[in-house]
Amino acid sequence: MLRYATPLLFSCRIPPSIKTLAPLPSPSFLPIPDPKRPPPVCRYSSSTCNYVHLPFCRRRCHYCDFPILALGSSAANAAAGDDDDDDPRIANYVRLLLREIEATPKPGSGDEPPLQTVFFGGGTPSLVPPRLAAAVLGALRARFGVAARAEVSMEMDPGTFDGGRLREFVELVGVNRVSLGVQAFQEELLRACGRAHGAAEVREAIGIVRRCEGLENWSMDLISSLPHQTAEMWAESLRCAVDARPTHVSVYDLQVEKGTKFGQLYTPGEFPLPTESQSANFYKMASEMLTAAGYSHYEISSYCMEGYECKHNLTYWQNKPFYGFGLGSASYINGARFSRPRRIKEYAEWVQKLEEGAVNHETSNVEVKDLAMDAVMLSLRTARGLDLQSFRRSFGEGLAFSLCKAFRPFVENGLVVAMDEERGTIPPRDFIKLQISSDDELEDISSDDELEDRVAFIRLSDPDGFLLSNELISIAFGVISP
């Protein structure tokens, strides 16, 4: 019960780069009447962030609803996956990808800063031959430039690479951050979710990654609430993760999606899936064990050692623009969010159109309330929380006040935490007092200004607030767009 009253751990761990939000841009593509309130997203702000989707997998995992292309288990015998390297499906796809990159217009005048992050996601990008991955990065470099110290991440699955192949990715392609799709350490769980690898490959892969020179930054993915998963198994997985000492851990709570094998078989909260309360408990275990091992819980499902936040993902959460290339990928450029077709045929047609200049790059009119909802939804996922000062400047004092008012009962019960500028927790009693005085229900012991001055951030508490983030964020949505 006292857990969420524990003071927050993040004030010291937030690197300077994310302490301040992107400077507020000024050009006027939004019809905002108040000239003092500039829109939070700039039409011409350039993206320094890039996602590349490499959709190939051996087979589809039972929980997965991503746009992927299953290659079949031809390479099950070879850890190095050499058989796949000549697969024409991969080569053809990469060609399409290169065409898309080539045909994507550069925003602005041409003196934009180079890309700061490149993320090869999938799918299983490690199935793509290193030379092809290098070709993609080359194309990006040619088109947008890639900063010398850019974060280049790649998702890799156990059983798809050996030491040599990893070295190629690092040396030839320039990958400097690996995201290893471990998911579980138990043979039976891996089998139950249809993973193409077993527990032995997991241990082997961890060894390869740890031994790899020039690669100190790596992340491990784990999934909680798998069918038949027990608290003991979860604790074991967390212990193994801590023992492997990755710089970053991502813990995903299983989402049972429509159209997946799990979607047909299981109902959340019902056997063999853990109950809601067990599943909440798994989340808490992760938060406790990883925090105790020195990791910072900087986002709902992300933990890192100090300074090892995933820069790429931070872009998403900071509501900054990013490019997206490849099947089904999403981009956010010039204020417009766009998702590419999820089927290869339609994607190819779309690339064709892009080359012909038939794709409309005009931004649709984005409503202010949508921007406010994006800002709230994304920032509340993070430990940093919502920067109220900046929110006030962008969307007005009234909205910020209404938001605080709607969160009042949850500040009271510890799901939401209010913080001052030094990221010190404002005791719920004080927060409520500030609120009430602003409501003019009491004599004005303190003024609106005081509230404005004191409450600089609001965040969801760890773990209870994070666990109910959908509820809390949808309450905020109700305030922004009634």
Binding site: H53, Y283, L467, S474, S481
Partner: protein, 666 residues
């Protein structure tokens, strides 16, 4: 109290015209009936032409007028018989697919009739959704027919020279809740066709309707219908009519409205047996209001029967009850469409374009807009609808849980349902209605007495002792196949019923009379009765006096806060059980929220049932898929919309269905 209620009942069933004072104002409209009669003398030659031109009503003195209605148990063929009569008189064309004109086809949806489907659809559009769904006549409809007949003559041969009679068929709704409307319609008649199904025989509503007609001093013509059925047994029906109503078996007409057999005897019997209306032609206008409704284009349309005098377009009329005056904008007959005649004479029935008897409200319920901001829309819809159905009482009230709304009084539960559905279907209003209640009387130790139409208005801790309370009761007549007697006795005693009578009307069927608290039958009694007896029970009730009872107010509390809209008044002995049911049901209906919710039922400060709904533990999308913000946002927006459909009480969100579901607990 009892005496008072009986008095009002008698008043209803007597012919008691809502007298209206005619203060004629000289107008440009020439009232000379002879002149207009000459101009349009061709009209009486052909009924067809009559419809196109103006009917000369001055040709029909009271001696040539018959006003009658058809009364029957539901599904005994009233509507089909009415259609055949309209066809026989040429009022509607045979085979033109206007069957059941009077009911506007509400029964056709249930019983297969030999008409084309497309026409059914066309007609279905006319009738109210409620009527079509339930297959019952709710609003009375009326039609005027013309028929040549020589009294004492042998019909067909000398028909052309026979005098023409003006026959007004005044329809009555079938369901018991609407006996108020039946009384009104019967008050305008001098006779009634009592239609009984030749196979099914006398049913509960046959008995109820017969008594209403009998009390109104109507001449009753028994019609044994559906004699074409293989199981028809007219002789048995005749003996029932004799034993139950003392009707001479010789008087019964045998018909089949379906095949047409025996129909030719019906209108001659109407003309020869039913007396003509006995109004005074030279007296000032008095008329009886039968029905009123709202027409989008014409405004308020009233169906009236002229008792004395005449009513002309341009007249100013006053309501004796409210002293309000109205101008007659248009007047005419229903033939069956509104046909303007400019005048209505003594004994005639027609419509007046211009709203008027206080009904006794036995069921009350709060109606609130599902979305608080829709109050004006609901207000508007209720205004329009009460214009059509003046028997609903409406008072503004405010609930802390549901905001601004209305306390509405209804004649019965079906009436309430009908009103509710019409609000939703005809006016598009989204409505939350509170647990229906009956008017209770509480007397305190200090001698003060209050009538409680809204349980929320009764103080939970009044600070003074309740000396006595009373609740309205009804006398219920239940006719059931004898094998169901046991379960029905159990049902009635569970409902605090007192058996008054138990007899067998024939070898297979039992008749039981019970005195039951009205509260016990308003919610689900009829459904229970039907389900226990596989639909064979027939049920009718009449209001009876107030009974002393041990009543308590049961509050529902969420996190310690009483929800006024969920308060209910129950018998002390049932309070524990009802409280338990309410609490259990609410626990199922309310979704888990971000904090624990205690749900309690309490009498005053005594908690009789309690449950805790533990807080939701987890609702998180652990992964923000590859930056696909749009998808996640859609999901959260859906969640937000879900919250919007909830009613927030204190900090607890309650789904609207919860309010509806709570009704089902009695």
């Amino acid at each position: 109290m009892a005496a008072l209620m009986r008095a009002s009942r008698e008043a209803r069933s007597k012919l008691r015209p809502l007298s209206s004072i005619s203060r004629r104002i000289a107008t440009y409209h020439d009232p000379d009936p002879l002149a207009s009669g000459k101009d349009r003398s061709f009209c009486s030659q052909s009924r067809h032409n009559c419809r196109e031109g103006v009917v000369d009503l001055s040709q029909y003195p009271p001696e040539r007028i018959r006003n009658f209605s058809i009364i029957a148990h539901v599904d005994h063929g009233k509507s089909t018989l009415a259609d055949r009569l309209l066809e026989l008189t040429g009022t509607i064309k045979r085979g033109h697919g206007q069957p059941q004109y009077l009911d506007k086809l509400q029964e056709a949806a249930m019983t297969p009739k030999s008409i084309s489907f497309s026409l059914k659809l066309v007609l279905l559009c006319i009738c109210t959704e409620v009527e079509r769904e339930r297959g019952i006549t709710v609003k009375a409809q009326t039609a005027t027919m013309f028929h040549r007949h020589t009294v004492g003559g042998t019909n067909s041969s000398d028909k052309q020279d026979s005098p023409s009679f003006l026959l007004n068929l005044i329809d009555t709704p079938g369901h018991v809740d609407f006996s108020y409307e039946v009384s009104r319609s019967l008050a305008a008649c001098q006779g009634a066709l009592l239609v009984v199904d030749a196979a099914q025989g006398v049913q509960a509503q046959t008995v109820a309707n017969f008594h209403l007609a009998f009390e109104s001093n109507l001449t009753i013509i028994p019609v044994i219908n559906k004699i074409d059925q293989p199981t028809a047994d007219p002789e048995r029906v005749k003996s029932q009519l004799k034993s139950l109503f003392d009707l001479d078996p010789e008087d019964a007409l045998l018909t089949s409205a379906k095949t047409g057999k025996g129909l030719d005897q019906v209108l001659p019997a109407v003309i020869e047996r039913i007396p003509s209306p006995d109004g005074k032609r030279d007296s000032p206008l008095r008329m009886l209001l039968l029905d009123s409704y709202y027409d989008e284009y014409k405004g308020v349309i009233c169906h009236v029967a002229v008792v004395d005098g005449a009513l002309r377009k341009g007249d100013k009329i006053g309501s004796a009850a409210t002293s309000q005056t109205y101008e007659v904008l248009d007047v005419g007959i229903m033939h069956p469409e509104l046909t303007s005649t400019g005048v209505l004479f003594t004994g005639q029935v027609g419509y007046v374009v211009s709203g008027f008897k206080p009904a006794k409200h036995m069921v009350f319920s709060g109606l609130y807009p599902a979305d608080g901001s829709d109050f004006d829309a609901l207000n508007h819809a209720i205004e329009r609808l009460t214009c059509n159905d003046a028997s609903v009482s409406v008072m503004k009230e405010t609930s802390t849980a549901l905001g601004m709304g209305f306390r509405c009084g209804f004649l019965g539960l079906l009436h309430m349902d009908v009103f509710h559905q019409r609000l939703e279907q005809e006016y598009g209003a989204r409505v939350i209605s509170t647990i229906p209640t009956v008017p209770y009387i509480f007397e305190y130790a200090d001698g003060s007495k209050i009538q409680v139409q809204n349980p929320a208005a009764l103080a939970s801790n009044p600070g003074k002792r309740v000396a006595a309370c009373w609740e309205p009761s009804v006398i219920a007549t239940i006719i059931i196949p004898s094998e169901y007697v046991g379960p029905i006795i159990t049902l009635c005693s569970e409902r605090r019923g007192e058996q008054l009578e138990y007899s067998f009307i024939d070898s297979q069927r039992a008749l039981m009379k019970y005195r039951l608290p009205l509260r016990e039958i308003i919610v689900d009694f009829y459904n229970e009765l039907k389900s226990i007896t596989s639909g064979y029970a027939t049920f009718d009730y009449e209001d009876s006096e107030y009974q002393k009872s041990d009543l308590v107010k049961l509050d529902v509390l969420l996190n310690g806060q009483p929800v006024d809209a969920m308060a209910t008044i129950v018998h002390n002995l049932k309070a524990q059980r009802v409280g338990r049911e309410l609490v259990d049901k609410l626990k199922k209906l309310i979704d888990r929220q971000m904090f624990d919710i205690t749900i309690q039922a309490a009498i005053g400060s005594k908690v009789v049932a309690r449950e805790t709904l533990s807080a939701m533990r987890k609702n998180v999308l652990a992964k923000c898929y590859g930056g696909d913000v749009t998808r996640k946002k859609k999901l959260l927006e859906k969640q937000k919309e879900g919250k919007k459909r909830m009613k927030r009480i204190g900090s607890v969100d309650i789904p609207q269905e919860a309010f509806h579901e709570l009704f089902k607990i009695s």
